[in-house]
Amino acid sequence: MDFKLSEEQQALKQEFEDFFKREMENAPLDYQNRSPLEAMYGSDEGWEFHKSMKKKLAEKGWLTMAWPKEYGGREAPVIEQLIFSEVQSYYRAPGLDGFGVKMFAPTLMLYATDEQKERLLPPIAKGEVQYCQGWSEPNAGSDLASLKTVAIKEGDHYVINGQKVWTTAAHRADHIFLLARTNPSQKRSSGLSVFNIEMNTPGIEVRPIEYMNGVHIYNEIYFTDVKVPVEERIGPENEGWKLTRATMNFERSGVGSFAEARRSFEELLKYVQTTKRDGKALIENQIVRQKLAKLYIGIETGRALAYKTAWLQEKGSLTFSAAAASEGKVFGTELRQQVANFATEIMGLYGQVEHSKWAHLNGVMIDGYQMSPGSNIAAGSSEIQRNIIAWVGCGLPRFN
């Protein structure tokens, strides 16, 4: 057993490091005082930067490194993807449309017609389009299968009516991949289908949801008699649920959380070394020291788990990695919450200050304090993740 990167991996890591370090020097300010998610989708400047980065990543072949060779990828091993994620997250760098590259593309590869693949995959690979994911609804959050948006076939098209919510980046996206009920007489996971829809189709209305800190990431989408050609249905009619399970060997270790937390830890460390209160450097305060120690331990143990998850995933051990992906998610988001909590406590009165000339560390910690509840809820709440860990990881019986 050893944790050493091979020479090739080391070189690759260095290439990622050099690239992101250099590129992020020109990033708009938003990338220093907010999370990448907010910076990418929340401001026009950040969005433009994301788009330009997307092109650059596409040119390097990094967007699609994990894709199968037949679709222009290079089937990069999970560990290489892990290294990429780790470096990108550490630099808080944008440029990856995960909805297109990691979520919709695998669905297309598995279920789309040749025509659809030829039409839809290249723009994703080239970083030319932005996708959003039309799943959650007002009454279908954790319980996705209870969704109500309908797509009724009428001749050569479907007519879509309903509402989606919590749609990240819908206001920036060119396309949405939508899950809707094509057979309203069927319940829950039966009778659903997946569609690829251009966001400028008539009848689609996007309304912003303002996050608690005022940033615009999430949206509601209203569909009113939206006509979608039959050719935009992906996979068989009424079999959409299984498409939501489509996945590829993308790393899903959650390593990004730990890399982001490590970056914050390093900033916080420098801060407590250089900031004095009551005549003493903050690092001399034993409470501060213990908080840092706890964060360090969380970061390093989480990272060790992420590496193991990627390793086993590479080797095809899917049972472990299914529970481990949930573990990485919940441990990672709660760790980032702890970083934000501890940092804003350590900063004392300055802990509350948002980005401004008075802010310490650009206000990124109080931004994290506001973003962290969202992270504990989005993409499967911590409650759902713990249920999965208990069911899959511990083999306990499902209730209900």
């Binding site: 959650s136 009454n139 959050g141 954790s142 319980d143 209870s146 919510v165 919590w166 949801i209 303002e210 996050y211 608690m212 800190n213 005022g214 999430y218 004095k276 209160r277 009551d278 305060n285 409470i287 909590n341 804003t344 406590e345 900063m347 004392g348 009165l349 300055y350 802990g351 509350q352 200050v353 948002e354 980005h355 401004s356 008075w358 109080i366 304090y369 506001q370 509840p373 969202g374 504990n376 809820i377 989005a378 709440s381 911590s382 409650e383 713990r386 209900n400």
Partner: protein, 376 residues
């Protein structure tokens, strides 16, 4: 022992509660947050008319000679409504300082104006290094004939931007810490709002050659330390009351939501994990609430409550954050939005943490007090 409120107190709570529900629902709170003033002058006038601003003052200064516990009731209800208003700065901090240490003239002149709602005040104590300790107050008040001259920066001054007068803590050579009454509109003063998670009136106040007449010292030179420590402890209790009220609102709002929101065919409040979250929230609230009134009674009974004030504020710092964070988690997505009301509490919990001392400050203070009461 009597742990019931008087019927007057019940009535007071009722009045405050109805007033705020009618006049300042959560949507209005969010609107007020976005304004430069951060409060409603109109509602401030109504509060004056209702007698709340002079509640604590003796009759001779236009007051109602209320108990401290009455103000605690008001603060609790304000906390439930997360109602933005300068009562805390003006009445609980500055009014109490004047009452405690002011000259007869100062009391006569200022308390009446506060009571009638025509004078808003702010307390400028913290400075740029963010210390809560009185030893952290470095700003000098330099004697210059019959005046003092103030130069320097005060930070995190709540409501300075809407104040008519400030009370400034500064050091007079050979005398020590002193409290000076300063006209907020003085040309040497620059006031700027600091953007905070609480979206409140936290301000930076820069003093440049601000001249203060010697008679504008509260009480006498050098008595600032004693007054500040006493009033800061009292203010911590009052701020804790607001936080207790906020915890209660979080719980009530979240119970309603958990009963009504369904997933997997049943209310989410029927899931055991949510139930245990809520049980822990209620526990945090019930312990806090009852301790609040224990401490408030000590204030009214004239006992030394400085240890307890620190225990209470530290407790609420942690409990309000805990309760509001869990409330957001139970709400899911809507909890994280500006539209959802619960996010208000999550943000305010964080700003309340810093007002009148953060948790570490109060832990340390509490232990100091315990040790001096229990020498080896």
């Amino acid at each position: 022992m009597n742990l019931d409120f008087t019927s007057e107190q019940d009535m007071l709570r009722d009045t405050v509660s109805r007033f705020l529900a009618n006049e300042c629902p959560y949507d209005r709170v969010k609107e007020l947050e976005e304004t430069a003033e951060g409060y409603s002058p109109e509602l401030w006038q109504k509060m004056a008319e209702l007698g709340w601003l002079g509640l604590l003052f003796p009759e001779e200064y236009e007051g109602y000679e209320g108990q401290f516990i009455d103000m605690i009731i008001i603060q609790e209800e304000i906390g439930k409504a997360v109602f933005p208003n300068p009562l805390f700065s003006t009445v609980i901090q500055c009014g109490s300082i004047i009452l405690e240490g002011g000259s007869e003239e100062q009391k006569k002149e200022l308390l009446g104006q506060i009571a009638e709602g025509s004078l808003i005040m702010a307390l400028a104590q913290y400075e740029e290094d963010g210390s809560y300790l009185s030893s952290g107050i470095k700003m000098p008040a330099e004697a210059d004939g019959d005046r003092y001259i103030l130069n320097g920066t005060k930070m995190f001054v709540m409501d300075a931007n809407i104040s008519d007068k400030l009370i400034v803590a500064a050091n007079i050579k050979d005398k020590g810490l002193s409290l000076l009454l300063v006209d907020a509109k003085d040309t040497g003063i620059t006031i700027t709002k600091i953007p905070t998670i609480g979206k409140d009136n936290t301000c930076e106040v820069i003093f440049k050659d601000v001249r203060v007449a010697k008679e504008n010292i509260i009480g006498s030179p050098g008595n600032g330390l004693e007054i500040l420590e006493k009033i800061n402890a009292k203010a911590a209790v009052a701020k804790a009351a607001e936080m207790v009220g906020s915890c209660k609102a979080c719980i009530d709002i979240t119970i309603d939501y958990a009963k009504q929101r369904e997933q997997y065919g049943k209310p989410i409040g029927g899931f055991q994990v949510i139930q245990h979250y809520m049980a822990n929230m209620l526990l945090a609230y019930d312990t806090s609430y009852n301790y609040l009134y224990r401490v408030a009674c000590m204030v009214d009974e004239g006992e030394d409550f400085t240890a307890e004030a620190s225990a209470l504020k530290a407790c609420l710092n942690e409990n309000y954050k805990f309760v509001s964070e869990r409330a957001v988690q139970i709400h899911g997505g809507i909890g994280t939005t500006r539209e959802g009301d619960i996010g208000l509490f999550y943000r305010k919990a964080k700003s309340c943490e810093y007002i009148c001392g953060d948790t570490d400050f109060h832990y340390e203070n509490l232990i100091d007090k315990i040790l001096s009461a229990n020498p080896i």
